[in-house]
């Protein structure tokens, strides 16, 4: 076997030092570390279930080597929110009926985050283009497109990042929502 290398993966604000092989795939490294919300659907970059943000850019983690991510901030879906404090996008997916089996959802949320970071008010065509790398076999995509629209709308109505933690409709705000609104998502992985 080839010699292993020590790298540091910064995932959802936590630093992990680990030994990897030169050919260790980022997807496997993340799942080994316990980030199992990053899903393994095909390992050839076709399904998008393993999407994460690397320095704020959505990538299929099955198509990258772990060493390529050394030292760079990585955000996975689970790093965005929790059951108690879901990210606005995650909550929109749940509310819009966009979640069926849920296996594609983490990747869909990541693609949505990247889209809304660049384009807070996308058209349906823009939404569909942004999600075109994520396969879903359950929903027919309509409710997912609707979830993205709902998330965009809710994010636009969030108070500014300096404001109180109360969102619209009295929802508890998620700090990452404001990172997104400010366009500051690339550093999201290093906070909280």
């Amino acid at each position: 076997m080839a010699r292993s290398t020590i790298i540091t993966l910064h995932v959802n604000g936590r630093a992990h030092e680990l030994a990897v092989q030169p050919n260790t795939v980022l997807l496997h490294a993340l799942r080994e570390l316990g980030y199992t919300d990053v899903k393994n659907g095909c390992e050839i970059g076709e399904c998008g279930a393993c999407a994460v943000l690397l320095e704020g850019i959505p990538v299929n983690s099955c198509m990258m080597l772990a060493v390529q991510a050394d030292g760079k901030p990585i955000t996975t879906n689970a790093g965005l929110g929790t059951m108690d404090r879901p990210h606005t996008i995650q909550e929109a997916f749940a509310d819009a009926g966009a979640v069926q089996c849920g296996f594609c959802t983490p990747g869909m949320v990541i693609s949505t985050l990247a889209l809304l970071d660049e384009n807070p008010n996308p058209t349906e065509v823009e939404i569909r283009e942004a999600l075109s790398g994520n396969l879903c076999r359950c929903t027919g995509y309509g409710q997912i497109v609707e979830a993205v629209r709902l998330a965009a709308e809710r994010l636009q109505h969030l108070p500014s990042r300096a404001a109180s933690s109360q969102g619209d409709e009295g929802r508890e705000g998620n700090p990452r929502d404001r990172l997104l609104v400010s366009g500051d998502v690339s550093h999201g992985g290093d906070e909280v």
């Binding site: 899903k39 509310d95 069926q100 089996c101």
Partner: protein
């Protein structure tokens, strides 16, 4: 197209049921908290890999595992000798000749002969995945090629290579209803067509996976994504251990669509965990999930239909040939479903159906959403349009002349007892398409529709049952225990919503524990569109029993008759004086102190029937049927052969939508799978080798391929499920593909008799027409 009138239905307005509430499983999945089968690990865990056949038909002449076993880090290597030739048994129903087929079930591991590429031969458990993979490479295997057969019609010929003696017939059925000859004689026209459909891959996003371990009681625990926790029984048989020594702990399933109805990783995990005494994990790669799990059956269906000039059908003769692949699995049942639904939602008094499934040296076929129903619909619905074309009638008019109504009998002579709203659904789906798009340049516009009927609930001679346990905690929150596997369709949520409705609590006050064969009451399979019907009814029974006790005690406490009370918002109040009420939490304490039980285990038994007449195929098969329709508009580019789906609308009578958002999701998602079936998907083999081994070759619809299907939900309230619900999981898929096939035929003016309707097929068909017309022109000139 105006929607046809509907009978008036007054369904009561309810508090939880009928509301598009956020599903109980949605947020956990959205935030990535849900732990799927492959996400679970244990200390000291081994990793497994499977050696699979690289030959479609061969004798194994050498299988030497010595070098694999000797590799450092390998805990064990198992072959068919170690599993003692254990098999995965399918019980073959009805007319199929159980005795003749004995022994044709798939072995857990092949020993002497392999019959398809991907057939499992040996297992390895090792310290890491990499070591397990290396060990697999070190297993020495040699084959001697055997004759093979790849086409079911070839397989039925007398000189075909035989997969299992005495012949390749895996199942066959016949229907004899009325007088076919007299019916044909009474016809003005006889229309005959043959339609072909390909293998289809389920393409669930979550590859099969699981972890197994032996616990301190010697019970083999298997944590796996499955649609059937009851497989613990067949696993126990294969391992020759008592059934109470196997426990399936189902996980949230990342899509199944029928594929996870068969045993997959769990049988290997059980053997390996027992052999090593250590936890073992097995995750299929995507390629393995494609190669080693079932496919939808290819069918060739011939319809010969006698019709009057006004479109009335006087007789119908239907022949079906299905490809079983190398082993039976659920083929006998799938063929029975296709046969029993062969004539569609039409009243046909003179009917013959002959169906047969044959073994070939390809991946086995088994359950896939619709279970033979979609193939049957591709036959009868394309035929309806061809009849209309022959007679020069509107396709809907022909259907109208023949639609089954409540009280009529199906293909097998079973009376339809619930609402049969075929026309209402068809007219609404067509109406939703709106104005027809204008053609432009090389783009021709076509419209098509399809009606269908599809069973929900299992075959009635299975004597199906489901169980659920409902209990109220001291604070008035509700616990539900039910063995239902949740495969993403909202199976768990629906029964939670029903319990919430009956017990008068908000949905978020209900917690469900599901899909564990040892600790949740067995609810049966998440297949056959049966969970809402079966487990919904079981939960209704249990929750109603508790409600009655709560209401009785509240009546006593409040000093009013029970009939004057309402159960809502976690309290029981006097209807006309809502201030006069008692909270659930107080009632629970009263009941506890008086020994009144606030938990209940209930069992729902489906109605039973005793099977079909072996000579005529007549009899009752299913508890009830769902009816609906889909309409689509397409643009076909006659220069490129490309089909663009412009509009799609589906209308189904779901009886009662327990959660309309979830019902919407089922219909929209089922539609998309059906659209893919029509236009894109084709799991191809070449001489037994898979040509579409991954998502790079086997294309499923992306978000860019089709517009969303407009969903129209009708509620007749006449289903046999809770609150009058019918099933919609499988039916949602059925009409989409024939609607597209009919639209493409409408656009082109010719029918392509084989799916999928790829640009290549369309261009070939156009060329054939042009050649024919050119030929005709030449002939005409000569005259």
């Amino acid at each position: 197209m105006n929607p046809s009138p509907l009978p008036e239905v007054h369904l009561p307005e309810l508090n939880q049921v009928g509301k598009p509430l956020r599903r109980v499983d949605a947020l956990g999945k959205a935030v990535g908290a849900t732990v799927y089968a492959a996400d679970f690990s244990m200390p000291n865990m081994l990793h497994a890999k499977v050696l699979r056949s690289t030959m479609p038909s061969a004798q194994i002449i050498k299988l030497d595992v010595e070098k694999a076993s000797a590799l450092a880090g390998v805990a064990c290597v198992m072959t068919g000798e170690d599993t003692h030739g254990a098999k995965l048994n399918t019980d073959l129903p009805g007319q199929t000749g159980r005795a003749a087929r004995a022994g044709s079930d798939a072995p857990v591991l092949a020993t002497d002969v392999v019959r398809y590429v991907g057939e499992p031969i040996a297992l390895v458990a090792a310290e890491t995945v990499a070591i397990a993979e290396e060990a697999i490479r070190r297993i020495e295997i040699e084959y001697e090629e055997l004759p093979a057969v790849f086409d079911p019609e070839e397989a039925l010929k007398p000189d075909a290579p035989i997969l299992f003696e005495p012949d390749n017939v895996v199942a066959e059925y016949k229907i004899r209803k009325g007088d076919l000859d007299a019916g044909m004689a009474a016809a003005d026209v006889v229309v005959e067509n043959t339609f072909k459909m390909p293998f289809i891959e389920h393409a669930y996003l979550e590859p099969d996976a699981g972890v197994a371990w032996v616990d301190e009681q010697g019970v083999i625990n298997i944590r796996v994504c499955t649609q059937v926790v009851e497989h613990f029984r067949s696993i126990a048989r294969a391992l020759d251990v008592p059934q109470n020594k196997i426990r399936i702990r189902g996980t949230m399933v990342g899509g199944g669509f029928g594929s996870k109805e068969d045993v997959t990783v769990e049988i290997f995990l059980a053997f390996l965990a027992r052999e090593t005494g250590r936890p073992v994990k097995l995750e299929y790669t995507r390629e393995e999930a494609f190669a080693a799990t079932s496919k939808r059956h290819p069918f060739t269906i011939t319809h010969r239909t006698g019709v009057k000039k006004d479109g009335r059908i006087t007789a119908s003769q239907i022949k079906m040939i299905a490809d079983s692949g190398a082993y039976p699995y659920l083929t006998p049942y799938v063929l029975l479903y296709a046969t029993g639904m062969a004539a569609g939602p039409y009243k046909i008094d003179n009917l013959h159906v002959d169906s047969v499934a044959a073994a070939t040296n390809q991946t086995f076929t088994s359950a896939f959403r619709g279970f033979g129903g979609p193939q049957a619909a591709l036959g009868y619905e394309q035929q309806m349009d061809e009849i209309a074309k022959t007679l020069g009638l509107d396709p809907l008019a022909v259907r109208r002349a023949n639609y089954l109504q409540t009280g009529d009998t199906t293909t097998t002579g079973q009376e339809v007892k619930s609402a049969a709203w075929s026309e209402a659904c068809a007219t609404r789906a067509l109406h939703a398409l709106g104005e027809q798009t204008a053609p432009s340049g090389s783009r021709r516009i076509g419209r098509g529709m399809a009606s269908y009927f599809q069973s929900y609930g299992r075959i009635m001679w299975f004597h199906d049952t489901s169980r659920a346990w409902v209990g109220m905690e001291q604070d008035g929150s509700v616990v539900l225990r039910c063995g239902v596997p949740d495969i993403g369709a909202g199976q768990s949520n629906s029964i939670c919503q029903i319990a919430a409705e009956i017990l008068g609590v908000p949905l978020d006050r209900v917690t469900i524990y599901a899909t564990d064969s040892a600790v949740t009451p067995l609810a049966g399979t998440s297949t056959a569109t049966r969970q809402l019907y079966m487990s919904g009814n079981a939960v209704t029974l249990a929750a109603t029993a508790i409600r009655k006790r709560l209401v009785a005690r509240a009546a006593q406490e409040l000093g009013v008759p029970e009939s004057e009370l309402v159960v809502v918002d976690s309290r029981i109040a006097v209807r006309k004086d809502p201030g006069k009420a008692i909270e659930h939490s107080q009632l629970v304490k009263l009941c506890a102190s008086e020994g009144i039980a606030l938990s209940e285990l209930s069992q729902f038994n489906a109605p039973c029937a005793e099977g079909l007449d072996p000579e005529t195929g007549q009899g009752d098969i299913w508890p009830d049927f769902t009816f609906g329709a889909q309409a689509v508009e397409v643009a076909v580019d006659v220069e490129t052969g490309e089909v663009e789906l412009l509009k799609s609308a589906a209308c189904h009578d779901v009886g009662r939508a327990i959660n309309p958002a979830a019902v919407h999701g089922q219909i929209a998602g089922g539609s998309h799978q059906g659209l893919g079936y029509a236009l894109m998907e084709d799991f191809e083999f070449k001489d037994g080798y898979i040509k579409t081994p991954s998502f790079a070759e086997y294309l499923i619809p992306t978000v860019l391929d089709f517009p969303s299907t407009e969903v129209i939900i009708l509620e007749s309230g006449t289903g046999v499920g809770p609150f009058g619900a019918k099933g919609i999981g499988e039916p949602a898929l059925t009409p989409a593909a024939p609607a597209v096939a009919n639209a493409v035929a409408d656009a082109l003016g010719i029918r392509i008799h084989e799916l999928p309707l790829t640009p290549k097929r369309i261009l070939e068909a156009i060329e054939a027409i042009e050649e024919r017309d050119a030929h005709k022109d030449t002939k005409d000139t000569k005259h």
